[in-house]
Symmetry: C2
Subunit: 505 residues, 2 copies
């Protein structure tokens, strides 16, 4: 069932796999002796299987997103799940590593599972000599050993795009445009991309007379606005307050005039980006260098306008703070307007110090990450994804072993015509059982052919949905058993054409 | 750059991510203080990055394989990378687990990274109540802490299909047909699927008078035939021998008559499956139950024939042993005839005791696994994959900042037309540098538009390949610098049509 290693010519650590029962290509479940000790089939905390129903939706999502990103010229990369612990956690130390899944190889190196795709990207850019700009996408699982909760898992999938070595504001425009195009392609319904810039926030610091490290603290508090509201925000910027549980929330101790300036800034709103920009110019009229910084936002806004992304889709929202030391320029996030409770489904921004951690010079970069699981949860909640429990569109049922060759030929003919077809390979069961399974899996069509039909050159096509509706209208069990709901006889020669028409392919 | 967790509403283990610098959505590389300690950008032993050139090929392969499997009605699943150690290793014990990457979560449970996709499948089937037959595919990385070697890595990708709850020989036929269809779709050139059956091998044991556990040992030795050749095989079945290094290879101690019977069996060959089957009937004429067992192989062969898979593609090869206790019926593998040195690119068979390890009843199953990395290595070796270093088909170069809006509009127009287009977002560079990068990345077309061209409503399209050929013919450096190799002016209104024609889309 499996191939041992990518290359068979090289020596294999064969004792180990032999002990596991994997003699080159045999999994250990068949190693001798285990039959005596039954093992419980279970998963560790916070992990889950994705069965076909969920996977089919996810694959559609991922394929769709890929399609958009590839049109933008982003190229795929993949990095190993396992990274060195110091690469992952920087100098954040022992305590910080508790949130990681630790990994040990036979060499006993200190390793862990990646918790995002940005750290691996920064390693890749540092380690390989890549022509810049390097524009990549990566869709991969990440692992975080958080406390599990309903709907929150310790392995989940992120889909990132980034342009590395991209100082131009056009790169930021592109990320936001790609966010819009992706959400349109996924048919999510209403959405809004909101953006601001760390540079504008720095103007605010100058305007409010906030200096040094305190600026970072202010951004951290601003980022909580959506969650805590303006009143608590003001308290947290000032003296602090006690939360509902009575726990003290430390305040930053800003002066009242400073807090007023921040509130004034947060109140700078407008119907359009142009309006907000005009207000910014007047608000920061006295701040040194404000014109230049605002001009960058203005350029971004103009580019978006030229491309048809108006303020109804991409909003300049000064309350967007996202990140502390990390972001250095534009920051953006996207929310579904019909499901705001799911939070941002996309988030990103410009970060110009990506590779300095590995000793390289600063490299300007910008990008965004989509939470595939979160968006799928939101779309499922909104009933905006088509669910399907199997890829099969047609089941060829089997009722007469002597016709197996016919059934197989029929199956092959449909597959060759691009119809996803399954043939019954289970226990030889009565037709009713096969139909039951097709019903449970929501396979739309079942083909039925007995000796009589084969002789007459016809096949019975049963439309499961129609059959279900007709059957639902019946109350008598005997009648139900006898009726041939949703069935029609189709000449063998017209079968492919009929199914293609029914399936609209 | 990332979304913290699939669901924002639930409480987050925020102290940990804060310590890591991931305050909800910030990667730890930006945590304070790390700047002082540079970390080396590196990967642990046996791991590698897949950069765009390799990934683009792999994705094409994976998409192609997926297409075939979905036509067969197989549906995708995904299981977590991390499994309980006892689930992975059964009762094979401590020593056996050395080949695994061990994983630790905060609860200090004994976990590991999966080393194949069959064990997780068996867990899934045991754990979830699934309608049988359950037909799934899974394409996922697996991890094995083998001794690394050139071209052999500790993380690699497998692509498995399996039909679980599928006692019918039709299920086996389908797996082999899917193997053929996949290799055809991947345009691998010559290939051969070879199959046999554990049931035929059991007839051999009866014929040769080999009993009990020794049968399993015989199969293990038979499996080495391709590698060691017939002479050594005979020695290993008998008294044993010393290998080239002088190390003793223990023999099974079979009697000469038994070895002769095995050699006689291995010599049972024929041009067609029918011929081999006829010879089998005569060889095992005296063996009890032989007729029934051979009839199953005969049915498989007939089904294959009816579907058009002749002996030239699917060969009945009695030397195929594959597996010991694991397989219970047909076994199969596929090789590329032009690159036999890469070994089997596909392998599989029937295993009817899948879930017994977890205490369930025996469930008949059959399937196959493709080694994506191995096949890609073989196809690359055979130069049968089209390589490409980027997804971008067109680069819109930028030379005049005042035309940025025009460049963006151009870019968007091409993308909307389905042309994968990149706009220069790097440092404002001279055109030559932008062309150099396009050349290095093998982007086929570069668009050039200065103020003069914009005013005249034209765009210059540079065909990089043509330009390279023309430039190669030039020896004078000054001439090289001045010439506009492979360039043509195209009216702005005809640009999309021109590029679509050039790109054949």
């Amino acid at each position: 069932m499996l191939l041992a290693t990518p290359h068979p010519k090289t020596a294999v650590n064969s004792q180990l796999w032999t002990a596991l029962g994997v003699r080159m290509d045999r999994p250990p479940c068949y190693a001798g002796g285990f039959m005596a000790n039954k093992i419980e089939a279970r998963l560790a905390r916070g992990l889950r299987d994705l069965l076909p129903e969920e996977m089919i939706q996810r694959q559609w999502m991922i394929d769709t997103i890929r399609g958009v990103y590839e049109l933008y010229g982003f190229s795929p990369i993949e990095t190993p799940a396992v990274e060195f612990l110091d690469v992952l956690s920087g100098s954040a130390g022992e305590e910080a590593q508790q949130g990681l899944f630790r990994v040990t190889n036979p060499e006993d190196e200190a390793l862990g599972l990646r918790f995002d795709l940005t750290v691996p990207l920064s390693r890749v850019v540092s380690q390989h000599e890549l022509p810049l700009p390097f524009r990549r996408y990566q869709v991969s699982p990440v692992w975080r050993a958080d406390k599990p909760a309903p709907g929150r898992f310790r392995q989940f999938t992120q889909f990132d795009i980034d342009s590395v070595g991209a100082p131009s504001e056009v790169a930021d425009v592109e990320i936001m445009a790609a966010m819009c195009d992706t959400l349109e392609a996924l048919k999510v319904g209403g959405y809004i991309v909101r953006f601001s810039s760390r540079k504008i926030l720095n103007l605010l610091l100058a305007y409010a007379g906030i200096e040094g490290d305190q600026g970072t603290e202010v951004f951290r508090v601003l980022d909580k606005l959506d969650k805590i509201g303006l009143d608590k925000l003001k308290l947290e910027l000032g003296p602090g307050y006690k939360d509902e549980s009575g726990a003290p929330i430390r305040g930053l101790g800003l002066e009242d005039t400073q807090i007023s300036s921040i509130v004034e800034f947060l109140g700078t709103k407008g119907e359009t980006r142009t309006e907000v920009i005009a207000k910014l110019h007047s608000l920061f009229a006295t701040v040194e260098g404000a014109k230049t910084e605002i001009a960058e936002i203005e350029a971004i806004s103009n580019h978006l306008e030229a491309l048809g992304y108006g303020s109804d889709r991409v909003m300049l929202d000064l309350s967007i703070a996202r990140g502390l030391a990390y972001y250095t320029g534009p920051v953006f996030e996207a929310n579904l307007t019909d499901a705001p409770e799911f939070g941002s489904v996309f988030a990103g921004g410009r970060y110009d110090n990506l590779v300095t951690r590995f000793g390289g010079p600063a490299v300007p970069a910008t990008g965004a990450s989509m939470g595939v699981d979160r968006l799928l949860a939101a779309l499922t909640h909104l009933k905006r994804v088509q669910t399907s429990k199997t890829m099969a569109q047609v089941l060829v049922s089997t009722m007469d072993a002597s016709l197996t060759g016919e059934y197989l030929a029929l199956t092959q003919e449909l597959r060759r015509a691009g119809i996803r077809t399954e043939i019954h390979v289970g226990r030889p069961k009565k037709l009713g059982k096969q139909l039951q399974r097709a019903d449970r899996l929501q396979i739309p069509y079942v083909l039925i052919m007995g000796g009589d039909e084969a002789a007459r050159g016809v096949v019975t096509v049963k439309e499961m949905e129609v059959g279900r509706e007709q059957a639902d209208a019946v109350t008598d069990h005997e009648e139900w058993k006898e009726a041939r709901f949703g069935q029609q006889e189709v000449p063998r020669t017209e079968l492919v054409a009929t199914l293609k028409r029914l399936l609209k392919i």
